[in-house]
């Protein structure tokens, strides 16, 4: 069926009216172009927004304490309480579905005063007391040395891991960082590692302005004891943190004598819920992209169908002659179908190539101008390209179907009579 003669027949037929062929093809070209670019832009928006989330383990939540809002068991409302390290141990032992429970403490922060001194240089940084698990929740690239370890925790070593911006403001160029000392709130810490956030989207500055020290050291050095500022809790894969967070709250409430229905005593931020909400939004956006793109594509396809109908009408007599010469209905139909298919696929391929080029230019411009808020790396997966191709093939066939049928509907004797 797909022999050389058929091809030359089709090329002859398409060449017979070049301008019309071009205009028809343009409809499909434009349709597939919009389709692919729309999905790429959606993807770019998604990439941008998702990277704003950072690469913190998404199945996580943060949990802190707020004042109680109800009196309970003789305790007044408005009472403040703190998590302790044994709460962490209790969570780990009583709720097996929790993967990591990291207690955290913080010093300094947004627009804080200078709190770190090294020689004559000073800086205002965020100081966190952390457990070694934390690096598994918040991935970061250790550039030199190591992160906080359990032996640091156990022996309460005064060591710290510092971010790249800390190095920039406290050290001269090419100065050896590992093994040097920085003075945090008057306490000397030895630098054992440096890090940079793996996620390099826009606001990494704040992350790199950070110093990590062992949680236990933090408690002792800065008079926090075993109090826990807040916890970063990650559930095991496959169990959404949203589904088990209530267990966590209940356990905390009973351990701290908080009324079971006092929801304001425990504050939390559910990353997984937010993430799922964002994901849902982008699924909707993608569906809209597919829908709109497919509709634009469809108008192109209808153009092809239309023009094929005209072609068939114009060539009614020729088709009659061919049938008198022995062309079977299927030969005629096959040719019309193949013609529409080739027109669709060819113009579609050009459309895909052109959209790929436009996406490339877009990426190039983004690279040139640096990161843009909420937009990054517009791209489409091979799945989208294949979907587009399948749509093209199917719609090319559909576009040819009606004209092909109308081509052979007429009796040859009537077709021959047409002038």
């Amino acid at each position: 069926m797909f022999n050389k003669d058929r091809w030359s027949e089709i090329i002859e037929a398409l060449n017979a009216n070049k301008f019309r062929t071009f205009l028809t093809a343009f409809g499909v070209f434009w349709g597939i172009f919009i389709f692919v670019v729309l999905l790429a832009l959606t993807n770019g928006l998604k990439n941008g927004v998702m990277s704003d989330f950072g690469d913190f383990a998404t199945n996580s939540m943060f949990m802190w304490t707020q004042g109680t809002s109800k009196p309970y068991k003789g305790l007044p409302k408005g009472r403040y309480f703190n998590y302790k390290l044994d709460d962490v141990a209790a969570l780990k032992s009583e709720i097996p579905n929790l993967k990591y429970v990291s207690p955290r403490n913080q010093l300094g922060g947004f627009q804080g005063a200078n709190n770190v001194i090294r020689g004559t240089k000073t800086g205002a940084f965020e100081i966190y007391g952390d457990y070694p698990e934390y690096i598994k929740q918040q991935p970061m690239d250790i550039l030199q040395g190591r992160f906080v370890s359990y032996s640091d925790i156990n022996s309460k070593r005064k060591v710290c891991v510092i971010g790249t911006d800390v190095i920039k403001s406290l050290y001269d160029k090419d100065e050896e960082v590992l093994g040097s000392y920085v003075k945090i709130n008057g306490v000397n810490f030895m630098v054992v590692g440096t890090f940079k956030m793996s996620n390099s989207q826009g606001d990494n500055e704040q992350d790199a302005n950070t110093i990590y020290i062992p949680f236990t050291t933090f408690g002792q050095a800065f008079n926090r004891g075993d109090r826990v500022g807040w916890m970063a809790i990650t559930a095991v894969d496959g169990v959404p943190i949203t589904s088990i967070k209530q267990q966590v709250f209940d356990l905390m409430k009973s351990r701290h004598t908080v009324a079971p229905d006092d929801d304001r005593a425990i504050g939390h931020w559910d990353l997984s819920e937010q993430f799922a909400r964002m994901n849902g939004l982008f699924i909707i956006l993608t569906v809209v992209g597919y829908f709109v793109g497919a509709l634009v594509l469809m108008s192109g396809i209808i153009g092809i169908s239309n023009i094929m109908l005209i072609v068939v009408k114009e060539r009614t007599k020729e088709i009659g002659v061919r049938r008198a010469l022995g062309a079977s209905p299927w030969t005629i139909k096959g040719q019309i179908l193949q013609e529409s298919l080739i027109l669709t696929i060819l113009s579609g391929m050009v459309g895909i190539s052109f959209s790929a080029f436009v996406i490339w230019v877009l990426n190039y411009l983004l690279d040139m101008s640096g990161p843009v808020d909420s937009f990054a790396n517009p791209s489409v997966s091979m799945t989208v390209v294949f979907t587009a191709l399948i749509i093209l093939v199917v719609s090319g066939l559909l576009a040819g179907l009606i004209p092909a049928n109308s081509a052979t509907k007429m009796k040859p004797v009537d077709a021959l009579r047409i002038e």
Binding site: K317, R322, G326, P329
Partner: protein, 233 residues
Amino acid sequence: MIQIKDLHKSYHMGSNSLHVLKGINFEVKEGELVSIMGSSGSGKSTLLNILGMLDEADTGQYILDGFPIKNLNEKVAAKYRNEFLGFIFQSFNLINYKSALDNVALPLYYQNIKRKERIEKAEHYLEKVGLAQWSHHLPSELSGGQKQRVAIARALASDPKVLLADEPTGALDTKTSYEVMELIQGINDEGKTILVVTHENDIANMTKRIVNLKDGVIIDDSTVEQVRASQYV
């Protein structure tokens, strides 16, 4: 070669019914050159269309070289048309974006013959009608007589049992008409069965037998003394 018994055909247009063929009986033997004559509306074109399987009779029998032609589906009809019949039309009906050679090769294409063989055969038939040097010209670059010769070459290309010519000289001047008739006579001399529909007496007289149709019945069927077209050319 052709046997027709009691052939009826009527056309329905709304509530009106037009009885075009009212019981045609005739036979054509192999190698005959028959002209079908009649005024317009006599049913001669309808008869030719039925013989050509482009149209179907309502009742009656049509046997072509031993094959009964009845209730054929389009696929089989197309196959029969391709193998048994060659058509020559009044308006030539060449495909205008194909060269003379490709036009002649078209019936062979539908027989799934390989391109090389097709071209060879087509060249052979173009040479036979004296247009070998015009093989790569488009129909628009040929004169009326040349176009009809290409059409005759095309009709011959699949080596059919019967040639059906519907007013083959209707669009040509007298001189060219005679040239085309000379060609048709030559082909008949080689043994091909040919049916020619015409309303011109001089053309009819160049065949060997004249069938006269009037109002859907054969009123006269007689052999005639063939006038050779070559004497006029």
